[in-house]
């Protein structure tokens, strides 16, 4: 790697780190400002006083957008981690016996053949909405493609001579999976989780927008966008543009960071 890509990579890593720090700490310094209503300042356009404008209840949009991004970040992170955990567990399980492998493959193929947005809606709806339902629904619908990748990787490793030799020394299948196979796919898992992350955020926003996601009282990006829909025709453009732009930038930053990491690993 010469110095220019290294600089770009460091830049992405820096932006990503800053973003994480900003979002994780936002609840500390935002306080209750995302929920604070000012009836004398309803639907104000962006100005020096109200940086990104205010909504129909006079709440500051910059505070609500930041809080929404933080919430989405948390939900996306949890869903991505849970999805990766499911993928890794099932891919490892598939290594233990041919029957388990066939079952896991069948499950992967079945889930991949169903449009995942429909499945996502059904699961979130069945679980009654809310943060947990969104996390579970996104995780349950997004593990198969990663699991398929991990399974293929584990399969090729399992056929390598050192695994055959380990078996010859009398090592059990569980030992081989845990000590010989899993450590090799951990980088894949990390990148997989990071690539799943922006997906999870977008789906969280979509579910919330459609009304089966987070609670409407929470300042989630999906809630902000759904609210903005009602005022868009009135010319209150800032209600939709800033939360949407924030979401786009966050997803883009994570995406770029993940692809950079994938190339590096």
């Amino acid at each position: 790697m010469n110095s220019q890509p290294r600089l770009v990579a460091a830049g992405y890593a820096g932006v990503f780190g800053l973003l994480v720090l900003l979002l994780l700490s936002s609840s500390l310094w935002l306080g209750d400002s995302p929920l604070h209503m000012q009836f004398e300042a309803r639907l104000m356009p962006p100005s020096a006083e109200h940086w990104l404008g205010t909504d129909a209840l006079g709440r500051e949009l910059w505070a609500r957008t930041l809080a929404g991004l933080a919430l989405s970040f948390g939900v996306g992170l949890s869903a991505a981690l849970l999805g990766t955990l499911i993928a890794l567990s099932l891919a490892s399980l598939a290594m233990l016996s041919p029957i388990l492998d066939a079952l896991v493959s069948l499950l992967i193929d079945t889930l991949l053949s169903v449009p995942h947005l429909i499945l996502l809606l059904l699961i979130a709806f069945a679980l009654g909405g809310g943060t947990q339902a969104v996390i579970i629904a996104v995780a349950l619908t997004h593990w198969p493609s990663l699991a398929r990748l991990l399974r293929a990787e584990l399969l090729s490793l399992r056929n390598s001579p050192y695994v055959a030799i380990s078996k010859g020394f009398g090592k059990r299948q569980g030992f081989i999976v845990w000590y010989h196979l899993l450590p090799h796919v951990l980088p894949h898992c990390l990148v997989g989780a990071l690539l799943l992350f922006p997906h999870a955020i977008l789906h969280e926003a979509a579910l919330t927008f459609l009304g089966v996601g987070l609670d409407p009282t929470q300042p989630a990006i999906g809630v902000l966008l759904a609210d903005a829909m009602r005022y868009l025709t009135g010319g209150y453009w800032w209600l939709g543009v800033f939360p949407g732009l924030g979401l786009l930038l966050m997803v883009l930053a994570i995406e770029r960071f993940a692809s950079m990491l994938r190339k590096a690993l």
């Binding site: 050192y162 030799i165 380990s166 010859g168 020394f169 009398g170 090592k171 000590y179």
Partner: protein, 211 residues
């Protein structure tokens, strides 16, 4: 006694690669197998060490088939030592996966204590091959299949590797199957020699020549 009785092997729905292989190897004896590329030498080595399951016939040690669990009495040494070790493990851990060899044996194979802390990528092919051979000599191992293990080594390293293995094999009555293209090497090392051709064993011109 390592024995095979009418051993056959074919890959899925193919013509047999090996047919009716019957051989016997006493403890402490050396058996050489030569043959052209693609004649099935390595496949025979994998069958003898239990890495592959024969399509017909069986491999037996002292009258019982190779165990499916636990340490196999026949160990396999592949040609490339780099593929035979977990690249994320240090050499010490790689050895300990099978056993902890005594210092005298480590010295006999020219393995330095300092190597144990290194990763495999920090050893040369010859050094790593010696580690792999030593690893395979764990207690309970009665036979080893050495599949072209010295092909990529320089003559001096080859000599020291074979000398160390020979000394150990004599002392512990270890049977060794040497798979190689190098008939001069086989002539020097082996009690019996076979040539693989057309899927079966042919007695070689220099067979049964005592070393």
């Amino acid at each position: 006694m390592l024995e095979t009785h009418q051993l056959s092997f074919h890959f899925a729905a193919g013509t047999p690669l090996l047919a009716d292989i019957s051989l016997r190897l006493a403890p402490g004896e050396w058996l050489g197998i030569s043959g052209d590329s693609g004649s099935g030498k390595s496949t025979l080595g994998k069958l003898l060490s239990g890495q592959l399951t024969p399509s017909q016939g069986s491999v037996q040690v002292d009258g019982s088939p190779l165990p499916t669990r636990g340490r196999r009495p026949v160990q396999w040494l592949p040609q490339s030592p780099e593929l035979a070790v977990n690249p994320r493990w240090r050499v010490g851990k790689i050895l300990r996966e099978a056993w902890t060899p005594p210092d005298t044996l480590m010295a006999a194979f020219g393995i330095e204590n300092e190597w144990l802390k290194r990763f495999p990528s920090a050893l040369s092919g010859g050094e790593l091959q010696r580690v792999c051979v030593l690893r395979a000599l764990a207690p309970g191992v009665r036979y080893v299949v050495a599949d072209e293990i010295s092909t990529m080594l320089d003559p001096i390293t080859q000599l020291s590797l074979w000398q160390a293995l020979k000394a150990h094999a004599e002392h512990h009555q270890l049977g060794v199957i040497v798979i190689s293209h190098d008939t001069a090497l086989l002539n020097r090392l082996c009690h019996q020699q076979w040539h693989l051709a057309g899927g079966s064993l042919r007695i070689s011109s220099t067979a049964l020549k005592a070393p």
